[in-house]
């Protein structure tokens, strides 16, 4: 090594540093979107990673072979300018067909082997196994029934948040466009809740532009293409927890702020969650009566903060959002307001721990307090949290992309935040809630 020229040494040192850096970086922790190592909690993600590792080893070998030959040549065949003799020639070898064939065949064979394993992995990622789960669900008539649910969730991307639909009935989700699907039994946003240890089939689609659904610790991504229902894409989580995701297909202004999470729960907790989600909002008797009058078409002045909030919600929010039990009589027409034609269902807003496309938390992750500040800010001026278009599409198209600034007063905002807080799970209703709240934060 000591015969190396200074610049060669520089290169060698630099490459050593670079390699060290790579190795170090491989151990980086607290990267919740990491596609490698401990962060992986799904069998698919792990299969992919372990295969990639092998290929990366081959790649390192090929690269260092190429680099090695280059450096060797540098060291041994280099002629310094001052030593350069005009009439000194190396042997003029111009070709060697055996060699050529060898180095055509060798990579081809190597790649053929990689190809075989690739196909194997591809097959296994694209095959589905049956693992139905028995759930008690509301039957719509006040009672409960039991269904065999083959876990299957409709994932709908839109600017700039994700909707998740659970259909427990007998609906062929694959054959239909999302616009023609019947109302889902559970509709939630930004946080998908799944039972742990079970293969979940995702039917991914979009209402506006192309997005991509990606939970790196569970599986690779799959695009949400409007007008198309993706071939089923599965995810599975081994451990209860919250798994982070990010929309990865460029989808316009707030693409970077279009995140999502998967909450994996043990089967019993999942059942609890389902039961809670299938109930409407619980109101005090007076408020219920007030709502009933409003629904009947009467104009009644609100008597308290809660009723004021409901009034505001019905006049300002209900054209896009739904609050089951409060806005039943109003047909929300988000398609007239929004390019994507949907806004999150807020009935169970506070059972989710993240909002605004997954970039803000509903609860402080350290204290568990309801995050009034952020939610109030969101209501006051959504664009200050997540870039939105405040202007309509065009002069002829008055639809918006994202949540508009409704010009709410401080009091209205306050009332609405309290109303949203009411949607939180009741004491003891949802055992793992604290755990989810904790897991929601990134540090």
């Amino acid at each position: 090594m000591n015969r190396l020229t200074p610049s060669t040494r520089k290169v060698v040192r630099f490459l050593a540093l670079l390699t060290a850096a790579f190795v170090l970086a491989a151990c980086a922790d607290n990267a919740p979107l990491d596609t490698r190592g401990d962060n992986l909690q799904g069998p698919e993600a792990r299969d992919i990673e372990s295969f990639l590792r092998w290929v990366l080893w081959i790649a390192y070998a090929v690269f260092f072979a190429v680099l090695g030959v280059t450096l060797y040549a540098w060291k041994n065949f280099r002629i310094k300018t001052e030593d350069y003799e005009d009439d000194e020639f190396p042997e003029q070898i111009s070709h060697n067909n055996t060699l050529e064939i060898a180095w055509t065949a060798a990579p081809a064979i190597l790649l053929a082997i990689i190809a075989i394993f690739t196909i194997g992995l591809h097959q296994s990622l694209n095959s589905n196994s049956e693992n139905p789960i028995t759930l008690d669900v509301a039957d719509g008539a006040g009672g409960a029934t039991t269904v065999e649910w083959e876990p299957e969730i409709v994932v709908v991307g839109q600017q700039w948040w994700w909707e998740y639909q659970y259909h427990f009935g007998d609906v062929d989700l694959v054959a239909q466009r999302v616009e023609t699907l019947p109302n889902a039994d559970i509709t939630t946003a930004t946080q998908m809740v799944i039972p742990v240890g079970m293969e979940i089939e995702l039917e991914i689609t979009s209402r506006d532009v192309i997005h991509s659904h990606w939970i790196p610790s569970l599986n690779g991504k799959r695009d949400a293409v409007p007008g198309r229902q993706s071939a089923p894409w599965k995810i599975q989580a081994d451990e209860p927890g919250v798994y982070f995701g990010q929309c990865t297909e460029f989808c316009g202004l707030s693409h970077s702020r279009m995140r999502m999470q998967v909450v994996a729960l043990p089967e019993a907790e999942f059942q609890e969650w389902v039961t809670a989600q299938m109930q409407g909002l619980e109101l005090s008797p007076e408020t219920a009566a007030y709502v009933a009058e409003l629904e009947a078409g009467a104009t009644v002045p609100p008597a308290n903060a809660e009723q004021r909030a409901i009034d505001t919600f019905r006049t300002k929010c209900a054209s896009c959002h739904v609050l089951d039990g409060v806005t039943d009589g109003i047909v929300a027409r988000p398609e007239e307001q929004l390019v994507s034609g949907a806004a999150p269902n807020l009935t169970h807003f506070a059972t989710r721990t993240t909002f605004a496309g997954g970039i803000r938390n509903v609860y402080e992750t350290d204290t568990g307090e309801f995050n009034r500040n952020d939610i109030a800010q969101w209501l006051r001026d959504p664009a200050s949290i997540k870039a939105n278009f405040t202007e309509p599409v065009s002069e002829t198209d008055s639809r918006l992309r994202g949540m508009p600034n409704l010009g709410l007063t401080t009091e209205e905002v306050d009332d609405l935040v309290s109303l949203l807080e009411m949607t939180a799970p009741q004491e003891g209703e949802f055992e793992m809630f604290e755990f989810i709240i904790e897991e929601t934060g990134v540090e």
Partner: protein, 131 residues
Amino acid sequence: MSVTENTDVAHDHVVDDHHDDHPSDSSYVLIALGLAFLTAVEVGLFVLEDWIGDNFGLGSVKIALVALMIIKFWIVGAYFMHLKFDNPILTQLFVFGLVLALVVYFIMLSAFEFSFWNDGLEDQGLPGGIS
């Protein structure tokens, strides 16, 4: 270059050494008549499509129409565009583009699960008959 070529212009020394096989005007007319006939057959097939389809199985009309199309294409290319008589490099260049287009777009349409031969109407809900 037709055979009559070097009779008119006084100082034209051109000797037709290798292009004698260019068709004459009358053969061009014959070729055109042939093309017209093929077109008539095509339209005839179209008109009789229902009856033929019933008797010879689905797709036979399509196959026949496509075959006729290819024949017409070839005749125009070979004779009117005299690829048959020109330097083969021209045929190679042209056919390369043509075949490339066919192959690439065929693969593209297959990726849409598009079928030229049998796109049933049942899955019309989605573009190109995909589901």
